[in-house]
Amino acid sequence: MQWETVIGLEVHAQLSTKAKIFSGAPTLYGAEPNTQACGIDIALPGVLPVLNIGAVERAIKFGLAVGAAINSPSIFARKNYFYPDLPKGYQISQYEIPIVQGGSVTIQIGDKAKIVRLTRAHLEEDAGKSLHEDFHGMSGIDLNRAGTPLLEIVSEPDMRSSAEAVAYAKSLHALVQWVEICDGNMQEGSFRCDANVSVRPYGTDKLGTRCEIKNLNSFRFLEKAIEYEVKRQIEILEDGGRIIQETRLYDANEDETRTMRSKEDAHDYRYFPDPDLLPLVISPELIEQIKQQLPELPEAKRIRYQGDYALSDYDAAVLTTSKAVSDYFEVMVQSLPDQPKLCANWIMGELIGKLNKENSEILNCSIKPEQLSRLLQRIIDGTISGKAAKIVFESMWQGEHAGDVDRIIAAKGLIQVSNQGEIEKLIDAVLEANLQQVNDYKNGKEKAFNSLVGQVMKASKGKANPMQVNTILREKLKG
């Protein structure tokens, strides 16, 4: 039987507020345990939550960016369960009425675009951390993270493969950073995914029984976990078994998912509206104000790049995968307004290639867009060849000569030879030494021409202007 995979994602994005969602304690990552938890975070008797409006504004910003409705009022609810790193014995979340309802995200699969619908996004507080090592049979509790604001973004089950799920997660990851509501740092847990995975026979409408895979903190784990899970479910179904709805954990070491708890063991969270917090009313003025602050969104930029810069859909899509990339591109075209394609090629080719290879990010890139523009300027004005430019690029990456393009060109002696006389000399020498190929060319073998160009370039140590070499060589061979 042919099986269809159905995936929905729940993403927890940590909102980039300085203070926690219901207390004034700082949200800074990596502090000594329990030094960033105030009386409210540790749930002393008698303390009360007060909502941080910064978290609300970020949620609204997200909602507007995905074209969702902003509910007013939305309601904070208590999710009750006992765990040592949950100080109050309940998590303040939103349940029946979330702040953000609906909306969608467009993903790119190869050259096809696909729309993934969002169910909702709601505000909630994070729990602390339980540390099970180093305590000799006991557990340590660190409540620094308790009360950190999260936006839980829930998609519809619209994805049909691990590739789509990853594309969606990446797209969302880029978007939350694009609108500056989350730093997107996956190592620090600022962006975490849970995947709901099920399979069904192709052509059927009814959803299969799903399993939820928790806490996938990298795109690679997300992909591998889904692939493993799909395979596991198909095997069970093909053996005549049935899927048990449960929560599973992905073990990256074993590359498998394992039962965490079954539906029968699932908590009854006894959600009810939190009587300590009033219904969250959002004025149309606030929404309007946030709308004004919203940067140009990836979708709009992508369309504009195709129009303004005559870039292909593919180029425009790649350049708008993140705010950082598009910012980089825009700084470059500002100084090279006639060369958007050249800029795009260098960003998408050399720059992103190098970043990927070095596992680095454009934001931390040592080569600033102004420097890269300057390098391209030197290709355009004929100072160096495209080939030499790649050598300069490498040198800039290494930070040689303070990354100064002109100093690198000079130091490496890469200035292109465009002097007619010098090139003629080089050509004459090559022609003399390669009579056979000259004859071949004259007898109609075009290949021989390329070989001769190569020889000239080699003789110039790559510095000869290849266009000039071409022209002069053709003329000389005519004679």
Binding site: G39, I42, A43, L44, P45, G46, V47, L48, P49, V50, L51, R78, N80, F82, P84, P87, K88, G89, Y90, S139, I141, D268, R270, Y271, F272, P275, D276, L277, L278
Partner: protein, 483 residues
């Protein structure tokens, strides 16, 4: 000085007739002589109280006194008080010294009042007799075989017995008004949202409201002036203009329209209480008030609705007492679940566990709509009843409790009977309205009777006026049980 009004004590302090240290010492001596018998206080800390008194004397000497500067106030042990044991009447917090001040405590500290001690209470404010306290029951100073009421029984007893001129209480379903009635003192629960709940250990967040307990309406006004105020640390706190609750005390009552809800005079009402209430109403008519009968058709639902909503919120509010971070933890356990179970089994008393169970049940999957949601809808109806009757009258009056104080142990094994002692008070919390109780006489055995006055939202000043005018022509509030 014992048994004197706040106004009198304030004048004595300001005229330097007595110092705060002397006054505080006098009250501490009184507490020392009576507390073993009455058990009104859980914690006395003479050093801390006297330290505050010394500071108050400096304020007075510097001419920076406000009306309650230097006056000893008993604080219900539900308010977190920095450096003081704050137990909430529970074994769970028997070892808990609060690291911060509740807003209410802070407000008293700011004006230089003296904390004379932390008063006994039903465990986590759950009870109507003060018998659920881990620290033992409080005795009614009028009759030590009788309960003082609850949950603010320690505060009521302390004021009635002259161990403090005034005290704080909290009222979730009647916990200020019922013990005030049973101990023959005055008490007011303000409109929900006027007194900050920050630092007040939560029982049922949407119903809890702090308020004062004192001998007279005039004293309550002085206390309210300190306690009421917007607090940004409590999201349900209301931002309103500051009022002087004394401002209307002397207004004549001619033209006042008193509504008598017929549901408050049904067969559940004891004859001697009914008689005293009738007499009090007659007194009001003499003062120029008119009386009309009104109806609160959904009043009968208040106890069932209350006993869904309050336990629901409590079951969640009390989850933080898990033995992990502070408070009681079981001595022996084999794993995490076992630690939770043993800690909470041993740390909570019977009534608290009963309410956690009820609350957990009504919030459970499959029961939530039938209980919690339905109760919320009925709560709205109960509140609407009041809105309707306040179109036709200024205040409502009726008995605070169906009977005078019952005997210790009389109802402690019968939760339903116990719950019914809040039958006339809990609807006020469900509606968020202000309610008060003032003493209006005694039953045959000499146990006090209270009149409940219910006002419309934010009508505290008017209610205090209504109470004060009655107290000007009667002396029930001046009666003392122990000389």
């Amino acid at each position: 000085m014992l048994g004197q009004s706040l106004k009198y004590l304030s004048a004595q302090l300001n005229d330097k007739k007595i110092s705060s240290v002397e006054l505080t010492t006098e009250y501490l001596n009184r507490i020392r002589s009576l507390n073993a018998k009455l058990n009104a206080f859980i914690t006395i800390n003479e050093a801390l109280s006297l330290e505050q008194a010394r500071m108050a004397d400096q304020l007075i000497a510097a001419g920076n006194a406000s009306p309650l500067t230097g006056i000893p106030i008993a604080q219900k042990d539900i308010f977190c008080t920095k450096g003081w044991l704050t137990t909430c009447g529970s074994k769970m917090l028997a070892n808990f010294t609060a690291p911060y001040n509740a807003t209410v405590i802070e407000r008293f500290n700011q004006i230089g009042a003296v904390n004379i001690g932390k008063t006994n209470m039903d465990e986590f404010a759950m009870g109507s007799s003060n018998e659920t306290s881990f620290f033992g029951p409080v005795k009614n100073p009028w009759d030590i075989h009788a309960v003082p009421g609850g949950s603010s029984g320690g505060s009521a007893c302390a004021v009635a017995a002259g161990m403090a001129p005034a005290a704080t209480g909290t009222d979730t379903g009647g916990s200020i008004r019922q013990p005030a009635a049973l101990c023959g003192i005055s008490g007011i629960k303000p409109t929900y949202g006027l007194v900050s709940r920050f630092g007040m250990i939560a029982f049922a967040s949407s119903l809890d409201q702090g308020g004062p307990m004192a001998k007279s309406a005039e004293d309550l006004a002085l206390m309210l002036n300190v306690m009421v105020g917007f607090d940004e640390r409590d999201s349900t706190s209301l931002q309103r203009e500051i009022e002087d609750y004394r401002r209307d005390l002397e207004k004549p009552l001619a033209g006042l329209r008193i509504g008598l809800p017929k549901e408050y005079f049904d067969q559940g009402l004891n004859d001697e209480v009914a008689h005293a209430v009738t007499q009090a109403i007659e007194e009001y008519q003499k003062l120029g008030a008119s009386v009309i009968e009104v109806s609160l058709p959904n009043a009968g639902l208040s106890i069932p609705v209350y006993y869904v909503i309050a336990p629901a919120e409590a079951s969640s509010n009390l989850s933080r007492f898990d033995g992990v971070r502070y408070g009681y933890r079981a001595k022996q356990y084999v794993n995490l679940d076992d630690m939770y179970k043993k800690t909470r089994t041993q740390g909570f008393g019977q009534e608290v566990k009963r309410r956690i169970l009820i609350g957990t049940y009504v919030l459970s999957h499959g029961y939530y709509d039938a209980y919690y949601i339905k109760a919320q809808k009925l709560r709205r109806l109960i509140a609407n009843d009041f809105t309707d009757v306040f179109k036709r009258c200024d205040v409502l009056m009726g008995p605070t409790t169906p009977t005078v104080a019952f005997d210790l142990g009389e109802k402690s094994d019968d939760p339903i009977q116990m719950y019914l002692s809040d039958i006339y008070t809990s609807s006020v919390n469900l509606a968020g309205l202000p309610g008060m109780s003032i003493p209006i006489g005694f039953g045959k055995k000499g146990r006090p009777i209270g009149l409940q006055i219910i006002g419309n939202y934010f009508k505290e000043a008017q209610m205090l006026n209504v109470a004060h005018q009655y107290q000007k022509v009667t002396d029930w509030h001046l009666q003392v049980p122990i000389k």
